[in-house]
Symmetry: C2
Subunit: 454 residues, 2 copies
């Protein structure tokens, strides 16, 4: 039986980053990643395979950096883990022993078994699998009427990309009143709807799917609760993901109520020498302090780095105070990004807050070619002015601006401090220095904090 110091199950972003980071810290140790498919995909790039990228081969992500660092990889499926004897078995009949084991098994699309007809042919999902997505591309090529169920990030991005094929009719069905409603407050989510419509997507918000109808075993239409029927020769369900933790559960690891593997802030499970990281691992919200079922590659890789540095001994004390959701997407050429609390999540978690708002253009003067409107909101604790969340809408610069807010939240920065925030500004790149958006939005929050206490 071959033995490794570290075996990592899964080669998604968290598995690979754990492997690379830990191997670099511990070059003398032997590392093995066991991965199910030889070719991996950049997970967040999947929607762009359908249009903007020329080909699925443009979206590959493999263990090359891990192999370069001296790790080994095996294409196989782990079928069982014996935590007591520190061994595992694979589908091809191999056995390995390990000193330390990392679960990086990720997540899998939620199958809407509660919708009648979910098992018809051409009812598909966005699985993070090369072979599956390759097959889905063929189905998309042949489809004329596509219905996407779910207007979260994946659903919205897939619908936006598919609508670029002008000969196809693309309909997006979302249960909530607006798309992206989990990541943005209403005034921003409304803009997401508008941009999706402008991009050619038929949006049906506030609508629930009753059943999928077909003939000859193939889907033909989507029937809504209100009785409407939408023609569909392809349905793509994007209603969320669930952690892949059957193997961990079978091995006897503690799972939380939402099905993730219970871990501490160094990503250690309750079993010695067993770790979990990424979508399959439990996470606590930075603001709320409660279980958070966020599934983002950026979050997963941050966890993976914490694990990579601390796997053999605690060497990097800056572990997690909790998971901060930082989202960004582009729809119809406009960027939507949010970090930390938004109004509805703050209310749900009983977090007291005031908002600050500001609008401007993202270049100065605004007459410069390519200038776009920029709209920003911060969510702030009225007690001490601490920034606990933010949302931004605008041009491409928003993709990195949100990370300024993200750092501000993580470093407990207050709106008072940001009044004198020294920034770089440039006509072609940012708002004017006289009204740098992140400073002005803090000024507005300060006014609103004062009003609150009048």
């Amino acid at each position: 039986m071959k033995s490794y110091d570290v075996v990592i199950i899964g080669a998604g972003p968290s598995g690979i980053v754990t492997g690379v980071t830990a191997k670099k810290q511990n070059p003398e140790k032997s590392f093995l990643i066991i991965m199910e498919e030889e070719k991996g995909l950049v997970p967040c790039g999947i929607p762009y395979i359908f249009h903007d990228l020329d080909d699925i081969s443009q979206n590959l992500m493999g263990p090359a950096p891990f192999v370069k660092a001296g790790g080994e990889v095996l294409v196989d499926t782990v079928t069982g883990v014996d935590i007591r004897s520190k061994t595992l078995e694979t589908g091809s009949g191999k056995s390995f022993s390990y000193s330390k084991l990392v679960f990086a098994t990720g997540s899998t699309p939620t199958i809407p078994t509660f919708i009648r007809g979910y098992d018809l042919e051409n009812v598909e999902y966005i699985r993070k699998s090369y072979s599956y997505i390759n097959g889905l591309m063929n189905r998309i090529g042949q489809a004329e009427n596509i219905v996407v169920i779910g207007g979260g990030f994946i659903g919205a991005e897939v619908a936006e990309q598919l609508a670029k094929y002008k000969e196809k009719t693309v309909t997006l069905v979302e249960m909530e009143n607006h798309c992206l409603f989990r990541a943005f407050s209403e005034d921003f989510a409304v803009l997401a709807d508008e941009h999706l419509v402008n991009a050619g997507v038929n949006i049906l918000t506030g609508c629930t799917v009753k059943k999928l109808q077909g003939s000859g075993g193939k889907v033909e239409s989507v029937i809504l609760e209100d009785g409407r029927s939408i023609k569909a020769d392809l349905v793509i369900s994007a209603i969320g993901y669930k952690p892949r933790t059957e193997l961990a559960g079978k091995a006897g690891l503690q799972l939380t109520s939402n099905g993730t593997i219970r871990v501490d802030r160094y990503m250690r499970t309750e079993e010695k020498d067993v770790y979990a990281v990424g979508d399959c691992a439990h996470a606590t919200g930075f603001i709320t302090g409660r279980t958070d079922n966020i599934m983002l590659a950026s979050t997963a890789t941050a966890e993976a780095r914490v694990l990579g540095y601390n796997l053999f001994s605690i060497s990097l004390l800056h572990s997690f105070a909790g998971i901060l959701s930082v989202f960004s997407t582009e729809l119809d050429g406009y960027v939507f990004a949010s970090a930390g609390a938004i109004e509805q999540t703050a209310r749900e978690a009983n977090v007291d807050y005031v908002v600050g708002r500001f609008e401007d253009v993202d270049r100065h003067p605004g007459s410069l070619p390519g200038a776009k409107k920029i709209k920003i909101k911060v969510i702030v604790s009225p007690e001490n002015g601490q920034i606990i969340g933010g949302e931004i809408y605008g041009g491409k610069s928003v993709g990195e601006m949100i990370n300024i807010i993200s750092l501000a939240i993580q470093k407990y920065v207050t709106v008072y401090e940001l009044i004198s925030f020294q920034t770089g500004t440039h006509p072609l790149l940012t708002t004017a220095p006289t009204k740098y958006t992140l400073v002005k939005v803090c000024e507005d929050a300060i006014v609103n904090i004062k009003d609150r206490f009048l």
Copy 2:
């Protein structure tokens, strides 16, 4: 004699932002801004008037937000200030008394009187004046061979814009070995040179101008120290700016050795009720703790906000720990940005440092349309890992990325903390989460810190 609670001399970014901020905090007080010209320009937008903006009218910046807040403006020139009697006089013969006086008199181009022929016709400058720049545009329109002296930001940007007129020959003469050498270390400055050449600018670096030659009082050529002669029917000198503090000096205010008005961290001069802000005010470097002659609208507006909040009573304790230079520019479609210390300024100031470096592409996968190379460097204290500077080169996202580094410096963030920095990433907007540039560059710095102590 009319009396105001606050008189501000100057309507550049620092004058206007001081006025708006202080008036909003003190709506019951009367405010007057005295400005020399009716129309003001967005200072950092001036180079873009010459090409990318259709017209000078697209680059106006006026006191409208100040007037809207309830302030008054007067187009006039202050000719004398009597600090003892708290009065001032203007060129048109008016007199005013004030309770508080703010100098926001800005800066003016350095005239190269040490270069023979500097006083020839068609030897021009980038003055922050509507009427002057309007005149310069006409001269540019008629010129065929333009020589720009000085490869700092203004010189480089002006040359890049003028080179877009394919019928004009544009030459840039820079004394240092590379353009942008005050803001970037050599490996970045080299790229600036390359992009300027690619944009059609003839670059002569490591060259000093000996004299300007002309006939009939008009410039005709630029003669270099090495004897070369460059044909020039228009010369634009961009060798720097100096603070406009003659009025303040005449009024008896203390000036520093570099000609700025001495102020404390709340922008108070040594005279009671007299303040100075922006380019005319003294500044201390955040990293070096020494006099810094940085002149940036973004810095000036940050100072102006500190003054605006603290003018009548100290209400915002977050004043300056010092000036942080945060620069950004775009040349030939590529962005260059830096914040805080760079290698040569760290060495000059005897700051101990190590660097971290990383390169990637600014989208993921890198095969996405529009993806550009991104190159990042951080300057880090080896003692505690604190980030004290950074440089980034890449696409437009760099314009806001530099502000993440800027916030990190201002909040004393270490490279160890940023290993677990939670960021938003998106295929169309950022590098991949597995190798987010700012995290990877910190990893590299950590390796280099360890190597240092081996």
